[in-house]
């Protein structure tokens, strides 16, 4: 709270941070893998 530019999200603890990184990476991988279907669906 002392920062002038605090983060929107702050992970606390190495275990949780690695779990979140894995989950977010998997989410991005799905987005990439199915990009053709995503694009074909239009706007």
């Amino acid at each position: 709270v002392a920062s002038d530019d605090p983060p929107l999200r702050l992970a606390l603890g190495a275990t949780g941070a690695s779990e979140m990184r894995a989950a977010l990476t998997a989410r991005l991988a799905d987005l990439d893998k199915w990009a053709d279907v995503t694009q074909a669906a239009g706007a």
């Binding site: 603890g13 275990t15 949780g16 979140m20």
Partner: protein, 232 residues
């Protein structure tokens, strides 16, 4: 009244866990704390009575939370940091959660958070300053078997906080989602039992291991109890 340089904290779920530790550290640093809890009996142990305002309020009670915020602003003159921390966890397979359990955890973890926001934002908006710490969890970004309902509430808090941060930024108000992993708090030690469905497919327990402090990775809904704990 707080000094010009020290901060004023408004902390919910202040009687235990992360909330209590935040209150203790703030008081030790000479900052003022409005500590809100359903059970304020043990808060006096934190000392610094000149800097501590203990307020009995349940975050599910909008009127009580509003009165708590008004009391804090009245006592200390402003609110600088809001730790929107009160909440609990419910452990058990999604299928096992009874309707009442599902609604109850949303009442506290989501609608309680909203009650706090509605109570403090008029104060922060008038000041054109403030920092809101939204109590989330790493289950606000990912979920594993046994934490579906807890994660659902934290995902909700994450979504509303994304919007909130953009809405209040022009007013000089900051928002940070706090995403703890499992930490050494009464989260695992203060478990309540709740009845759950028995039509399950495995006999593994869904409860987190008290020894390891981690939830099991395998889906394990066979426990006849889902588990409830004060949330990080």
């Amino acid at each position: 009244m707080a000094t010009e340089t020290s901060r004023v904290w408004f902390i919910t779920g202040a009687s235990s866990g992360i909330g209590r530790e935040l209150a203790r550290q703030a008081l030790d640093a000479g900052e003022a704390v409005a500590a809100v809890s359903r059970n304020t009996a043990g808060l006096a142990e934190l000392g610094k009575p000149d800097l501590l305002l203990a307020v009995d309020a349940d975050v599910r009670d909008e009127a009580a939370v509003r009165k708590a915020a008004e009391a804090a602003a009245s006592r200390f003159g402003r609110i600088d940091v809001v730790a929107n921390n009160a909440g609990y966890g419910l452990f058990g397979a999604v299928e096992e959660a009874a309707d009442g359990q599902a609604r109850a955890i949303f009442d506290t973890n989501v609608f309680g958070v909203l009650n706090v926001l509605r109570a403090v934002l008029p104060v922060l908006r008038a000041q054109r300053s403030g920092h809101i710490l939204q109590g989330s969890s790493y289950f606000g970004q990912t979920a594993i078997p046994g934490v579906g309902l807890l994660a659902a509430t934290k995902y909700a808090v994450e979504g509303l906080s994304d919007a909130l941060a953009a809405e209040v930024a022009p007013l000089g108000i900051k928002v940070t989602l706090i995403q703890p992993g499992l930490v050494a708090t009464p989260f695992l030690g203060n478990l309540d039992a709740a009845a759950t469905a028995s039509r399950t497919t495995t006999r593994r327990s869904a409860r987190p291991s008290r020894r390891s402090g981690h939830c099991p990775r395998r889906h394990s809904p066979a426990s006849r109890r889902s588990r409830r704990a004060s949330a990080p």
